[in-house]
């Protein structure tokens, strides 16, 4: 595998920007008509051709992440794609993370594998923290974890997968209640019953899907990795996913800030352009400050978390970053007044996308509970 050197970073990110300009932006220029299945296939193929969705060679999304430059590339690339479309960035992230985890688990390489990390009820009220700390679990906590981890043999409540159309296999962790440990599985789409929800709040280019194991499917093969590797990989997956969601939110909000600044420098109210009004400057300024905080925080993520303390660091960022990103998105929508509420202008989409990201795989409150339980003496 190629090493991702610091000197590779700038040209690689420039190449992503070029890909976004030529292949993504033209398909996402009308926010009220989000990219459909065909456009998504076209973008996915383009991403594969440019190496953004690689085959583990070391220079694509979620490749070479052992090097700080590799992490910075992945987060920077997602941010750039999200500048055109958060949903498409999320779609590429799901495919890349699925492929990365598949490789680590020893499954056959695939560019159409996605990962389902999201179980039920956030972070199991902090029981997840105890599991990852190898603490003794009470029966109630085991029950919480059994429900939290994806359990595709339907226990009455859906596991929600957010992904673009076209995925072919699913990688997911599950909780072995008897042995109190995490196990990883892979499953072909054919072995699953997939129900697509009518629509969801944001990330319009992807779908919220309910996945259930087809009752005729034979037992699935558990990935052949050690208990410790399994737990460490889970920490890594959650951490990378968390950082990705911050990057995607940041990318979309940065575009919104640029659009709002441009709008505010042209639109007139009364006898002056609106960015001469303190009310508008305050909205733009607070959004700029919020995005600055999130960007600075994201720069501290320089390697995949492999210990709980490192995961905590990423989750701390996430618990604060998404509320800030949502506040920035809503402030920037407000700059547009009534037009901000109209789909054609794209500002409401940025807000919906960021709200959606905030709720996915651990809401701020759920993360707070996860963190809070570990800070007890």
């Amino acid at each position: 595998m190629e090493q991702f050197e610091e000197s590779d970073l700038a040209p690689a990110l420039d190449a992503v920007s070029a890909f976004v300009s030529t292949s993504v932006a033209p398909l996402t220029s009308r926010p009220e008509a989000p990219a459909g299945k065909e456009e998504l296939v076209s973008i996915t193929e383009g991403a594969a051709r440019t190496g953004l969705l690689g085959e583990g060679a070391g220079l694509g999304l979620w490749e070479g992440v052992e090097d700080p430059a590799g992490i910075r590339f992945s987060l920077g690339a997602l941010e750039r794609v999200a500048g055109a479309s958060a949903g498409i960035a999320f779609h590429l992230h799901c495919l890349a993370l699925g492929a990365y985890l598949g490789r680590k688990l020893g499954y056959e390489a695939s560019q159409s594998t996605v990962v389902l990390l999201q179980g039920r009820n956030g972070f199991a009220r902090g029981a997840l923290a105890k599991l990852l700390s190898n603490d003794e679990l009470e029966e109630t906590e085991k029950a919480l974890l059994s429900e939290f981890f994806p359990a595709i043999d339907d226990n009455g409540s859906p596991n929600i997968l957010q992904a673009g159309d076209g995925w072919q296999s699913l990688v997911f962790p599950t909780f072995n209640k008897t042995r109190s440990l995490i196990e990883w599985l892979q499953c072909d789409r054919d072995a699953l019953e997939v129900e697509t929800y009518e629509s969801s709040h944001g990330l319009d280019e992807t779908r919220s899907q309910r996945v259930l194991l087809d009752t005729n499917t034979k037992d699935l093969e558990i990935a052949k990795i050690s208990e410790e590797q399994s737990s460490t990989l889970y920490i890594e997956a959650v951490g990378l996913n968390a950082a990705a969601m911050i990057a995607i939110g940041l990318g979309s909000a940065r575009t919104a800030l640029a659009k709002a600044r441009a709008y505010a420098s042209e639109r007139r109210q009364g006898n002056k352009i609106i960015n001469e009004h303190a009310a508008v400057r305050l909205l733009l300024g607070r959004a700029s400050a919020d995005l600055g905080i999130v960007a600075a925080a994201l720069e501290t993520v320089v390697r995949p978390p492999c210990r709980l303390s490192e995961l905590n660091a990423v989750l701390r960022l996430r618990a604060s970053a998404h509320p800030l990103l949502c506040r920035a998105a809503t402030d920037l929508l407000q700059v547009f007044g009534g037009y901000g509420y109209i789909q054609d202008y794209g500002m409401e989409k940025v807000l919906r996308d960021n709200q959606h990201l905030k709720l996915s795989f651990g809401t701020p409150k759920e993360i707070q509970l996860f963190l809070g339980i570990q800070e007890q003496p």
Partner: protein, 451 residues
Amino acid sequence: MRSLDGFLSGDHPLSTGRAFERLDPKVRALVTYEPQALWKLDTAALPKALGEYRRRMRGFAQSVLRPHALELDCDTHGPKSMGILAEAARQGLLSDLLPAPLGTLPLRLATRPPQLVLSVKMEELCTACAGLGIMICAHALGTMPLLLTGNVSTIFRHVISANKANRNGAERLYAFAITEPGGGSDVEDNEGAAAYRPLTTAKQANGGWIINGRKVFISGGDLAHGAAVFAALEGEGMESWTCFLIEKSMKGFQVGRNELKMGQRAVAATELIFDDVFVPDSHLVGGLRNGWALNRAVLSFSRIPVGAIALGIARGAMESAIEFACRTTMAGKALVNYQEIQLQIAQMMIDTAAMRSMIWQAAGTWKPNQARASMTKVFCSDTAVAVCESAMELLGAHGFLKGNSVEKNYRDARVTQIYEGTNQINRLAVIEDQASWLLEKCENVGGNGNG
């Protein structure tokens, strides 16, 4: 006796109920412990007739609007919406701004300020669906400038006859049309208006006026029989603004596009286009150059009910979140048993109660005040968005699924921070009201107050 986790059961000696039983009866006459569902508690606090009206509005909202709210979020003004509108007309909801026999408001409610009655109605309708609630109530806003002329002839010719038609099932709705493509805030703010060049103009003609221009974001504009349209006299500025009642049948009046909106999709926000529309003198509303005054008066009246719209949306989100917390289990227990969920629900209850208190207080006067109306609108819309965010967060990853309603509540709530003046404009309206007092303060502390 059952109890939620974290609380003593009602028969425990240390429970609050049992403790109060031991108080002296004379004290219990003053301090009681009688837990009740909040809706019942609030309804009981209203005058009897208004409480009955609230019950009736809730019944209508829950039986007629709520079952279709999610479906009609994607189907603006389709056949099902028209059926709902017809039912609202039949039940007198399109004509109850005025008491019987002029309208359908129960006579006993004529002794209550109309903005209070309308606020009670808006909260209930918008708890079920803000879009449908506004589809039904936009007409009240459209008739408001006509009523505020105080001209008996105008009121009888247009408002009373519309009430009669609506009661008889031949819907006759009016829209309120002030916003122009280039000047949303300019028509809501004095200083902006002073410099604004209005796009919609009126030129005098034989026996009437020729109107040209466009209005945008007009709620229910595509359904309306006519609209109260504000236009400047040719060659003049906003000081000449005049209100004209323009009917759809008038030549040159076109309904433009319905906007694709983030939320409140069950009601259209429509563009209205006027291309040499001849409006007879009989349709001039409130006199020449009185449009700005009428507009300001309407906004002082309507901003309080906008607060009620926001409250209804927030309550809808809260009720959906509570329903989810009661029906969804985690490790064998309903979510509502977990303390973090109880805290979130309690905060939503506190927030909605605060909104309602502010609305009922501001609406309880016969003379709506600009500052109070703007304060109510700003506080309620901001709080509603926060409540909807909290409800979404309570549902976690289920919060973004359309079927759980709360994401729709959030989308619906967001525009209440924008329409009837952005919250920034409304904050400045509060200051405008307080300007004399603030200038006096400047003089007292040695400033000259001239900035």
